[in-house]
């Protein structure tokens, strides 16, 4: 991918902004009938950083992400994005879906431009923007292709380009790499590190993979199920300065992976 070189400047920026939260979740509960999916959950997402929501399946991490996206309403509690409360989906957030959610009847170009189309951007303007992001995610030449003609990895690149093209402050990613193969996934993870470094955006990343969370995150929130609450927040300190290829050999990386597994183990059936 083109945009992906590490950028020391952006790195410094993220340290400076540490106290500034792009998204702040306070005392959120969500009930489905009698079932408590989330209970009194509070969590802050520092601006310009990537925060992972990690937990066993059924722990409500996707529910939390959808509440932040404004797709679900919390039963109680409040979410602030850039200081203003969430009442529904907004221009400040863009969503990347686990199953890509590409329109099968629309070309790559229209799919990428779809977010802008819904915002009423004129056709020629939104197509110019879409072409730029299609190029950025490495799909140049596929503008006229239809989703079924692409591989799983390429489809998710289209989903990512769509989310980037609306230029939202906050990117909400719901297990974005879980439906692509292992090798594509590794490439995506490396690309994501560069994306976080280069784009001045806040990333919320839901995953069930411990290794993935530790590899890509500035901050990892461990959620435990029934009802969901944040059990632990881990902030790897030394991993960001490392080269993307050597992180997986770093002792800190290995220690964090082990300790997370120790605390999650008992919750996995």
């Amino acid at each position: 991918m083109v945009m992906l070189q590490t950028n020391a400047l952006a790195e410094d920026q993220s340290v400076l902004d540490q106290t500034d939260n792009a998204v702040s979740v306070s005392n959120v509960s969500k009930n489905y009938g009698d079932v408590e999916a989330l209970k009194n959950l509070s969590l802050d997402f520092p601006r310009g950083q990537l925060t992972s929501l990690l937990g066993p399946s059924g722990c409500g991490k996707t529910t939390l992400l959808k509440i932040i996206a404004g797709l679900l309403e919390p039963t109680e509690g409040e979410i602030l994005v850039n200081g203003s409360p969430v009442t529904g989906p907004g221009e400040d957030r863009a969503f990347v879906f686990q199953d890509f959610a590409l329109l099968p009847w629309a070309s790559v170009l229209r799919n990428v431009a779809f977010g802008l189309e819904l915002r009423g951007v004129a056709r020629s303007e939104r197509e110019d923007i879409a072409v730029k992001y299609i190029k950025d995610v490495g799909l140049e030449g596929f503008e006229k292709s239809f989703p079924h003609e692409l591989s799983g990895g390429m489809r998710q690149r289209v989903g990512l380009a769509r989310a980037l093209s609306v230029d939202a402050d906050v990117l909400l990613m719901d297990e974005p790499f879980s439906a692509v193969d292992e090798q594509t996934r590794r490439k995506f993870q490396e690309d994501l590190l560069a994306l976080v470094a280069n784009e001045n955006k806040t990333f919320l990343f839901v995953t069930h993979s411990i290794e993935e969370a530790v590899y890509v995150s500035d901050q990892i929130a461990i959620l435990l199920p029934r009802p969901s609450r944040v059990s632990e927040i881990i902030r790897p300190t030394g991993l960001r300065e490392k080269d993307s290829t050597s992180i997986r050999r770093d002792p800190e990386y290995l220690d964090i992976v082990d300790s997370i597994w120790e605390s999650l183990k008992t919750y996995v059936e």
Partner: protein, 253 residues
Amino acid sequence: MVSRSLTLKLVSAIIVFGAWEIAGRIPVSYAFPTFIDSMKALSAMILDGRLFAAYGETLKPLVIGVLISAVLGIIIGLWIGLSEWFDWLFSPIFIVMQAAPLAALIPLLVMIYGIGLTSKVFVVCIMAMPVIVLNTAGAVRNTPSSFIEMGKSFLASRREVLAKIIIPAASPVIFSGLRLGVSAGFIGAILSELKITPTGVGDIITFSRSIADYASMYAAIFSIIVLAVVFLNLLEMLERVLFEGNVRGYASD
């Protein structure tokens, strides 16, 4: 690919017509003419203008009925698919309509609406509408929820979700409902001419049979089948123009 599908169509036509010709020559029944005799009768009817006059009559209830069924059927279908309340209110009507023995209901329709055009349009609608409504409703209800969530998260209004996501997503099934509905409408149009008052093509069928001119009778039946096939192909072309992506497969394959 186009020429291959054309070849296949031609081959299957030759097989069917060949079998018809052979069956007519054996003959399987005195009342079953050969293909060639039927075609002769057909060209005779075309030449003396009898067929065109007949279709002038038959097409009236057919076109009116199919148009009403398509427009109203899709609108009601969308509504049923979108609203649980509407589903509760209207679905049973169309399920009953679909299951009803239409021939037995025709006397009732004639009693209420007389023997004119209205009754015939009703017969066409009763045949065509239920499958259009039920297919549309089912397709709308089965719109993948992630498409709708995607639309909402990118700030689509309710109307945009309907126009840009739900309807295109449902269009393949809506169109298959339209195809079934149009075919059923053709059956309804002929049925109404056989059961209510013999006019148009139904008249040719009834009259030819009564004077044992079986070639003309089969020619009339053949012509209505040809017309239905032409109509269905036009519908397919319309789908291809409106929803280009439909014929190209789906993201999930």
